[in-house]
């Protein structure tokens, strides 16, 4: 095979295959960047870490958090009003307060959907109406 023929082969077959794989990759992940991911990175990752790993015994990890899974309905309250009581995650007590934030129902739903998928491995999509409903019962 001459070098010209190899180049022709690449142009005809390899390049289209690469393009198809690229497009498939974007579609298989739903969207290019999840809107909740951007907000998480800006607002939450400072303390909880970009991979939800937390900081030592100061900030609890989010990865597979048993506490979060047991209190899924409280997460909208935590995001908006903060937490002012100790929490136990993976048998470790965390008593640093979490501060409240000015977050709206759409942003809250986005962040929760991102965390559900990324950290809690919990297959549920929530919407802004659900968030507003939960906010009514915050303690």
């Amino acid at each position: 095979m001459s070098s010209k023929k190899i180049l022709q082969f690449i142009a005809r077959f390899a390049i289209p295959i690469i393009i198809i794989l690229f497009i498939y990759n974007i579609y298989s992940h739903g969207t290019i960047i999840h809107p909740g991911k951007a907000l998480f990175k800006a607002q939450c990752s400072q303390c909880h870490g970009e991979d939800g790993e937390g900081i030592k015994a100061l900030v609890p990890p989010l990865q597979n958090s048993d506490y979060a899974l047991r209190n899924l309905d409280s997460i909208p309250c935590w995001l908006k009003f903060g937490i002012n009581h100790p929490v136990i995650v993976h048998d470790t007590v965390y008593d640093q307060p979490m501060y409240p934030s000015e977050i709206d129902e759409v942003q809250t739903a986005n962040v929760i959907n991102f965390m559900n998928r990324e950290f809690f491995k919990y297959d549920r999509e929530v919407n802004p109406e659900w968030v507003k409903e939960k906010w009514k019962n915050c303690k």
Binding site: L58, Q96, P97, Y99
Partner: protein
């Protein structure tokens, strides 16, 4: 021939760059003093130096100016119930601690700006939460006015503010201080790149001689 010239020029530029890097700035206002040298009156300027201080750390040890004498140190201001930037600052300070763990020439001072609540016992618990026991990293408490006075002398801001999260405001600065108590660098303790810069500038500062 031309190549040789070019290489020489590049080498000189590179050398200059190294020279620039090895001179960290000295922050703070200088004081003018008049002294007599060889029978003549000359005006000299003195570098800004931090005033003496004395506080107590998480192990009830007294930490004062002589603790850090002849050593370089990194200082920051925090409080244990701080919900906002402090955990992130601690995470970054752990990098400093890990890098210079066995270096007796390096000290870390974390001043509590909430010393009334942050007792020695509470600071000890905080240290335990960070997963360390360190004779090198002192978490300090003491007279509140003295700590706020000192923060002012470090040229950073710290104050009480009931409307802020946790009731206190402070910036997240890490301050680098040399062997003579002079301010040599400011870094954002919540920013990874800035802390990397601190780590490399600490290496530069460690090479500076004590009597320089």
């Amino acid at each position: 021939m031309r190549k040789t010239v070019l290489i020489t020029v590049l080498f000189c530029i590179a050398l200059q760059a190294c020279n620039w890097q090895s001179n960290l700035p000295v922050y703070g206002p200088k004081t003018a003093v008049t002294k007599t040298e060889n029978g003549k009156q000359v005006i000299d300027s003195l570098d800004y130096v931090l005033p003496p201080f004395q506080f107590v750390d998480q192990d009830s040890n007294v930490v004062n100016t002589s603790t850090v004498k002849g050593k370089i140190y990194v200082a920051d201001f925090f409080f244990t119930s701080c919900p906002s930037i402090c955990p992130k600052m601690m995470k970054e300070m752990l990098l400093v601690r890990d890098k210079y763990k066995d270096n007796k020439d390096v000290v870390i001072l974390s001043y509590s700006i909430d010393p009334v609540r942050d007792s020695v016992a509470r600071l000890k618990i905080y240290e335990t939460k960070l997963g360390i026991t360190s004779a090198q990293w002192h978490f300090l408490t003491g007279n509140k006015d003295s700590i706020y006075y000192l923060a002012n002398k470090y040229l950073v801001s710290a104050s009480e503010d009931p409307s802020a999260p946790g009731g206190h405001i402070h910036d997240g600065n890490f301050i680098l201080v040399d062997r003579k108590g002079r301010l040599r660098g400011y870094y954002d303790g919540t920013n990874e790149q800035s802390v990397q810069k601190l780590l490399s500038e600490m290496d530069i500062l460690l090479k500076e001689k004590n009597n320089e």
